[in-house]
Amino acid sequence: MPTYIARRLVQALLILLGVSIITFVLLYFLPADPARMVAGRTASKAQVELVRMQLGLDLPVWEQYGRYLWNLLQGDLGRSYLQRTEVTTLIGARLPASLLLMLGAITCELLIGVTLGAMAGLRRGSAADQTLMVAALVFVSTPQFVTALTLLYIFAYWLGWFPIGGYGQFTHLVLPSITLGLLGGGWYARVTRSSVIEVLRQDFIRTARAKGLDRWRIVSVHILPNAALPVIAMIGIDVGYFMSSIVIVESVFGWPGIGQLTWQAIQQIDIPIIMGVTLVSACAYVLGNLLADLVSPLIDPRIKLR
């Protein structure tokens, strides 16, 4: 097990290294002139060249990357071109809001997904099962911006229960969390359902029924805890995809997290920030997947980590 984890960590580092190289080279060859952006529209050609030298943008691409990597290894993601602040500071300032949203989203996903999935799995083959699974598929098939705008229209504009957008109070958290929770909840429902069905066919469930345990006790003590592990593994994978989903949701709801930072940085072509959030997001993906893999032998002892 320790060698497995060590090997996976090395693999993770290699993936992050690869992501950083490809992103760096990609951004280098895209037709945008960062020096011009930093110097400003009105700057003369000489000023632009001066800025280019100061930022080291006149160096060959591999040398620029070498410098970037060297700084990265010391925990320095560089400085934003336009906000003139350390990227680590900017990301650090936005991180709490995004983590809060992630917490809210995962709570909603689990509530929605496990409830729907367990109800459907326990009534496998019934009309209720079919209806619930179609509902889950609807959640999965609806783009986040449509879910977000629909919820805003009904609950913020029409009923006035929640604010249209913003940050700071609990009420601000509800609609963005539900938006993410419905989409993710659809996936969790599908996983939970097959997991519950898998547990239902085990011998110990038949035993529990045979000795006359009441239905609720079988569900709460014997089925759900045993069906939970694939769902827990899924949280790991979910965390990895989270960064992509929050770009949309944070921009619709005006949530001041990393997604909003990313979106602004892309529009302003602020390359150090784009690099930084790409790496943070790849980190989340790699770690999330690692966690999911580490959970799987707990789910099924026959799975051996190699």
Binding site: P143, F145, V146, Y153, V247
Partner: protein
Amino acid sequence: MSVWRGLLRRPLAMAGLVIAVALVAVAIAAPLIAPYSPYEQFFDGLTLEGAPLPPNERFLFGTDLLGRDLLSRMIYGARTSLIVGLLANGIAVLVGTAVGITAGFLRGVVGAVLMRFTDLVMAFPALILAITIATLRGPSLGLVVLVIALVNWGPIARVVYAETTSLAEREFIAAERAIGANTSRILFRHILPHLLPIIIVWGTLGISTTVLFEALLSYLGVGVQPPNPSWGNIVYDGQSYFQSAPWLVFFPGFAVAALALSINLIGDALRDLLDPTLRGRH
């Protein structure tokens, strides 16, 4: 044939098929069924104050901010969504299958390198990558297709790889080798036909992913560019007015959801019918 009969026996899959076929028909016949041109701005398409019109007898889905007929724009938008979705998905399936088969059949160093590269691509935050490329290069239809294909071939490569490695170990492949069949015969006559079911399933489900992705990019303003209509960019244009003109958001938004849902219904049924590892488990 049995697959077809299996689909017929599943009302949900049939519902999905009907919706999908209807939307494809609408897209193909767009010039015939669209009541107006998607680009024409009507003088009576706006109120006296310049606001868009809600759905009415003349404009069934209402008009947009420039006084254009929303229904006609949505009908032409179906073309964009489907073309981008199908093309991008087609490329993703081809690339993914090629990478997966090569890696699974050759294994060794080449296989390891290819699959680690797939891991790498999948670790990229797809949306951030796509938005960045589209923003910096200036969006165009071809670029949108390529970007979506680029970030979506990973999963299918993994599935095909896993399936190919397990096929390559089976006795009938060893038997083929023993009687002296060459690589291309084994690949095309024996491995590929066995992979087809799984490619069909993932290829179908992939359409809904790419359609949703196109809508996302267009919604963020970095996908299909106005005046060309796409369901995503109609929502993007109309969303600032969604309180006073909700039809601008909800009609195209629900159209995207309906298309993705119909494809997912078909794909789910196909998976039940075609994926032997799942047979009888759902």
